[in-house]
Amino acid sequence: MDANLAIRLENIHKQYGTKVAVDDLELSVPRATICGLLGPNGAGKTTTIRVMLDIIGADSGSVELLGQPPTPEARDRIGYLPEERGLYPKMKVLELLEFLGELKGTPRRVGRQRARRWLERLELDDWADKKVQDLSRGMQQKVQFIGTVLHEPELLILDEPFSGLDPLNVDLLKEIVLEEKSRGATVLLSTHNMDQAERLCERVVMIKEARKVLDGRLAEIKREAWLAGQRRVLLGMEGGAGLLDDHSLIASVEDRGVCFAVALQEGVEPQQLLEAALAAGAIVHHFQVSEPSLHEIFVGRARE
């Protein structure tokens, strides 16, 4: 037992017939962090989450959530937004939220007050007494999100929370996720959107073909990828003709209008390119060493 960990999985193994869905997975997520759970389709993310929440049983291994096994009491401290969205279509929004709160042990009256506040925050207060089926998909998704956070969970497991929302709502939800974190909640964020993961997560875990292939702090992962990979530079300059054709320095160039996106040859440091540009008499007005994006790291790992 480790009370500092929000999630601890050990040797989780789950098989459907002959297909291995999760293969000997270990996972530790410290409290009060946002951790990305990444991986291509069918990698085993959803199964991992379901095992974690004891919706399905693992063949072997142990699960610890918030420092205890996934008992009903522990599950009441968790909010889960599944990827497959769904709400009872015939229920009124407010009643549905009360019900979802009750299922997590929140008394109905408390749930009702909190639901009203949340509906206001997410600009749905006019819809409180409407039936779910009268709401647009985006609105339903927001209602479902409220259902996930209504009982003020200590651990939030969000599966693709932003998909299908317009940019304004994406920003709104992101803001709320960050607030939840500063409230002390831990967030496990499963997503395919690398941009969002990169902006929100301090840690990432990547699963591929039922196995973990990446796990750690995002900054360290990026640094490692940067050290191991090709250098990329954004270079904006006047003059210096001929420099870009120097294949001893440059592997490839892409003209982006204002600057050139330059990939350097292996072993060449950005500093060398800058020196060469100045030597060639160019006036450099933009020089930026680009970090490897999570997207590149993900694609690289997924293709391995």
Partner: protein, 417 residues
């Protein structure tokens, strides 16, 4: 526990608040009353109706006797003299009158009718109430009286000889209350049909309830908060409470109506209403059998719902269960005919048939006291078996969508679920 109550509450409210619930609550008893009242009203009208018939008497000897029978004297049959002329012409004329609606029909008494005993009736309505219960007694009496008189008997002796003997049938019931045969059979039939109706109604409701989470894709959220058994138990109790509410309303309304009927003497002219043999004991057994039948069939329907991934699919899959409900409906006539036969008794013990058939036998008053604990024990054991199997199917089936399981897969679910 509070979660279970939350599930029960949701399942209950979501159904009781629908327009459907209100409509069914009001319409079903109206239909039931209609189903009871229409044949009754028809019977009453039938017996009050005056049937105008003509008589062609080629023997020339029976007409006087016939007109002196009580059927004609009391006015249930009204005599219309036939037109004169040749017999064929008369028959043809009467035929036309019947077709045109001036006459209900006519009796044709052949010249040798007294020796051969053959009398014909030609008419639009040749139903048993008219032919067997009215015309036959009338003609029989007429023939007997004529023959008795030709033997030279005194008119009083003739009356003695030809007096009809009525046999009133009473069934011996356990409580020592004798009930008239026809009534208790009707009541038994109605109660059995009602049990069938409510079990089917709420069983099918359970089918839709079981598939609701899969159809609305809420199952994962729900299962991250409650256990499958809590969900299924909550649903069963919630839908059952809906059924109890509705049946309770119906029984209360029926009780009030009966009180009113008993109180209103003018209305009590209809003998049927006067001494309906539905006591509190019958109502109690009705509730018990309804609950048992609901849990039994609700469990079966829920298992079917768990296999399906949409309401449409569930509707297709429910057929075997619905057939099982219909079988006792087909057996009811056998039980009504001979409720004490071994076949009837044993059939009414078979758990899947008990709610309908035992209800019928009880209403007929042929149930032994020791049978009641026996059948309820059988019911409970079967319900537990169904719940065990259904629970396993439900647990595995909940997260399965898309592909419908094959039979071997289903067996695997039950064994490992």
């Amino acid at each position: 526990m509070s979660k279970l109550i939350a599930v029960i509450r949701r399942e209950y409210l979501v159904r009781v608040r629908t327009r459907w619930f209100i409509v069914i609550t009001i319409v079903a008893p109206l239909l039931m009353i209609g189903a009871m009242a229409i044949p009754l009203a028809l019977m009453v009208r039938e017996s009050d109706r005056v049937v105008s018939i003509s008589v062609v008497d080629e023997s020339g000897q029976l007409l006087q006797e016939l007109l002196a029978t009580e059927e004609f004297v009391e006015g249930r049959l009204r005599y219309v003299p036939p037109p004169g002329g040749e017999p064929e012409m008369v028959v043809e004329a009467l035929r036309r009158q019947v077709l045109e609606g001036y006459l209900s029909g006519f009796l044709y008494i052949a010249a040798d009718a007294l020796e051969a005993g053959g009398i014909e009736y030609w008419g639009r309505d040749v139903g048993p109430t008219l032919v067997n219960a009215t015309l036959e007694p009338a003609t029989t009496t007429a023939v007997r009286r004529f023959q008795a008189r030709t033997l030279g008997l005194e008119p009083s002796a003739v009356a003695q000889l030809t007096r009809e003997v009525k046999v009133a049938a009473y069934r011996i019931a356990e409580e020592g209350v004798a009930r008239e045969e026809g009534q208790s059979a009707t009541v038994a039939h109605i109660l059995a049909l009602m049990i069938y109706m409510v079990v089917l109604l709420y069983g099918a409701m359970m089918l839709r309830a079981a598939v609701a989470e899969k159809a609305s894709k809420t199952i994962e959220i729900i299962l991250s908060s409650v256990r499958p058994w809590q969900l299924m138990l909550g649903k069963t109790l919630g839908v059952g409470a809906v059924g109890l509410t509705q049946v309770g309303i119906w029984l209360a309304v029926a009780g009030l109506l009966l009180l009113y009927a008993a109180g209103a003497q003018s209305f009590a002219g209809v003998e049927f209403m006067q001494n309906l043999p539905v006591g509190a004991d019958t109502a109690l057994l009705f509730l018990g059998l309804f609950l048992a039948g609901y849990f039994l069939y609700g469990g079966l329907y829920a298992s079917v719902g768990a296999i399906a991934s949409s309401e449409q699919e569930a509707a297709q899959l429910q057929l075997p269960v619905t057939l099982l409900v219909i079988i006792p409906l087909l057996i009811i006539p056998i039980v009504l005919e001979s409720p004490t036969s071994n076949a009837s008794v044993v059939l009414s013990w078979i758990p899947f048939f008990t709610p309908v058939l035992f209800m019928a036998r009880y209403a007929l008053g042929v149930v032994e006291v020791w049978e009641i604990p026996l059948i309820f024990t059988l019911q409970i054991v079967t319900i537990l078996c169904v719940a065990w199997v259904g629970g396993r199917i439900y647990r595995v089936g909940l997260l399965m969508t898309g592909k419908r399981p094959t039979l071997p897969e289903l067996v695997r679910w039950i064994r490992h679920g």
